[in-house]
């Protein structure tokens, strides 16, 4: 049944990917469950991180047909044909810096798969790099004081809302490819297309946005990023079922997962994800609505079926958030292991030696040492926790991180860890080094009237 043909019918929205590194085989069972259920349904694939987008923009500048999510075709290949045949549209932000290029590539795949009638919609207008929309912007409150130098900008993308996605679906798209949009919009778009909710029906938009927020990280709703053995156990972590939300015309929300998959959906998994990346729970700002979850009630209706009620909405903000990516210098890293008697002391000596070498070489940058196995990720850059920790385990790994403006200093710092093989303490082994080109991101607020989101429909003659 197609979206909108019976707006009173329950709408199912599945999520087959929660981030750009997610399991490539996750969408299959979700697509199967949506198709088997038979009613109106849509499948979202969230694959776009901030860094991903900046790297994609760099790629597109070098090759005009590149700059979209590299795994997009791998994700779509197993499900595209059966979703299109069943009338289950797919919505993805895998267009990254080049939604049109992504659409052409997918249409090439459609030709290969024998799907000549596939309709692919592209949402554009989020990319404001090099446009007037970037001038005189106020920073987002978390980046207060940030100043934007347009010449340095690698990528600048505004979080668009659900309206262009809904428009593409109303035009009959089998697949909607966007660049940057709010993650919940990937779910709210099909709800708008199906139920025809008004753009000022704040409580329904809030309920739909809450459902989208729960879905957007995929398995984080169904037992991923959750298990804590003996405290919070999750069955079948190797086959986690990705989430499905069942939405009613009145904004009722129930979350579940496909039968026969691993994972769990219960009050605890849902509560953790409801609050994930929220700041003020009374004011979660999205392009479509301001969501208030403080009155939300969670009910376990049946195993792996959880109902949420009580989301409230307020009018959407006047500005949209833009992520601006800038060159962030270079990071050099190196690690080396010490084990057995006196391991910690040897690793500490290696660390002191590295510090001395960095000074001796006059490398300009900021450094940090970790003793993996003693104290690492909890510590600050100053090493206060490590110094206060007396434990001396028999297997530790020293890590140096060195950030510099230029590439050469970062490479040299990483090389100094490699040199410890011969010049360091006894029994040092397993060196790995890495040098990374970094991207810094800042958020700014863009007035809505500076943006003009566009929807275009592409078909097989546009194939790459």
């Amino acid at each position: 049944m197609s979206l909108g043909s019976d707006p009173t019918a329950l709408l199912r929205i599945g999520c087959g990917s929660g981030f750009s590194g997610d399991r490539l085989d996750a969408p299959g069972p979700v697509a199967d469950a949506l198709i088997a259920a038979g009613g109106p349904a849509a499948l979202m694939l969230e694959v776009l991180g901030e860094r991903t987008l900046a790297l994609a923009q760099r790629e597109r500048l070098q090759r005009p047909d590149a700059g979209y999510e590299p795994a997009l075709l791998d994700l779509l290949r197993p499900i595209l044909g059966r979703c299109a045949a069943a009338g289950v549209p797919i919505i993805t932000n895998g267009g990254a810096a080049n939604p049109r290029g992504a659409a052409r590539a997918v249409l090439g795949l459609a030709r290969e798969l024998g799907l000549p009638a596939l309709r692919v919609a592209v949402v554009e207008g989020d990319d404001i790099r090099g446009t007037d929309a970037l001038s005189d912007l106020d920073p987002w409150e978390g980046d207060a004081g940030a100043v934007l130098v347009p010449e340095q900008v690698i990528a600048a993308n505004v979080y668009l809302g659900a309206a262009p996605i809904a428009e593409a679906l109303r035009q009959g798209a089998d697949l909607v490819i966007t660049g940057r949009c709010s993650d919940p919009a990937l779910a709210l778009g099909p709800m708008l297309a199906h139920f025809g909710w008004s753009a000022t029906d704040w409580d329904r938009l809030a309920a739909g946005t809450m459902a989208g927020h729960l879905l957007e990280c995929g398995s984080q709703l169904t037992g991923g990023y959750f298990a804590d053995p003996g405290v919070k156990d999750i069955p079948g972590m190797a086959t986690l079922g990705f989430p499905i939300a069942e939405i009613g015309a009145d904004g009722a929300v129930l979350v579940t997962k496909p039968d026969g998959t691993g994972g769990r959906v219960d009050r605890r998994t849902v509560t953790e994800q409801l609050l994930y990346e929220l700041h003020d729970p009374a004011a979660y700002l999205t392009p479509d609505v301001v969501l208030d979850v403080t009155g939300v009630h969670i009910t376990e209706e049946a195993p792996d079926r959880v109902r949420l009620s009580g989301a409230r909405g307020r009018p959407r903000p006047d500005t949209l958030k833009a992520t601006v990516s800038l060159p962030g210098g270079w990071l050099g890293e190196g690690e080396i292991s010490y084990a057995g008697p006196n391991a910690r002391a040897r690793a500490e000596l290696a660390g002191r030696t590295l510090r001395e070498r960095l000074r001796h070489l006059g490398l300009e940058g900021q450094s940090r040492l970790d003793l993996i196995g003693v104290v690492s990720v909890f510590d600050g850059d100053g090493g206060a926790l490590r110094e206060a920790e007396a434990a001396a385990p028999a297997d530790v790994r020293l890590r140096l991180a060195f950030a510099s403006e230029g590439r050469a200093a970062a490479e040299r710092a990483a090389r100094e860890v490699l040199s410890l093989y011969c010049c360091g303490p006894a029994g040092g082994g397993g060196v790995r080094t890495r040098v990374t080109d970094r991207i810094r991101t800042l958020s700014f607020l863009v007035p809505r009237d500076r943006l003009a989101p566009r929807v275009s429909m592409l078909s097989l003659e546009d194939a790459a």
Partner: protein, 109 residues
């Protein structure tokens, strides 16, 4: 006085936005929420993250969800794109919070 790790009474999840961290803390049992409200204060959480340069903590109370949301400012030392820390997202930090000691016998409130 009998102190136990918060890990016994609650579970938690960390999320990041730039240099800002949020920690959702959820009581395993609804009846423990008042004890957590009394003892897991903004000041204690700020002290817990002081070594990382945290500048402020705001606690949002969600009794209906038997939960709290802590928003910790400037704790990620540059965040995912700028930190020297292996875990630039701060994803592991929910378990730094869960290591906090609470007094099980103290009267709530």
């Amino acid at each position: 006085m009998s102190t136990i790790a918060l890990h016994r009474l609650a579970h938690a999840r960390a999320g990041d936005k730039g240099n800002r961290l949020n920690l959702a803390l959820v009581a395993h049992r609804a009846e423990d929420w008042p004890l957590l409200a009394a003892q897991v204060t903004e000041a204690r959480v700020l002290a817990l993250f002081a070594h990382r340069g945290a500048t402020a903590v705001r606690r949002h109370d969600l009794p209906g969800l038997q939960a709290f949301n802590f928003v910790v400012e400037d704790v990620l030392q540059g965040g995912v794109n700028g930190a020297l820390n292996l875990d630039g997202h701060g994803k592991t930090l929910s378990f730094l919070l869960l290591g906090l000691e609470v007094d099980q016998d103290a009267p709530p409130g």
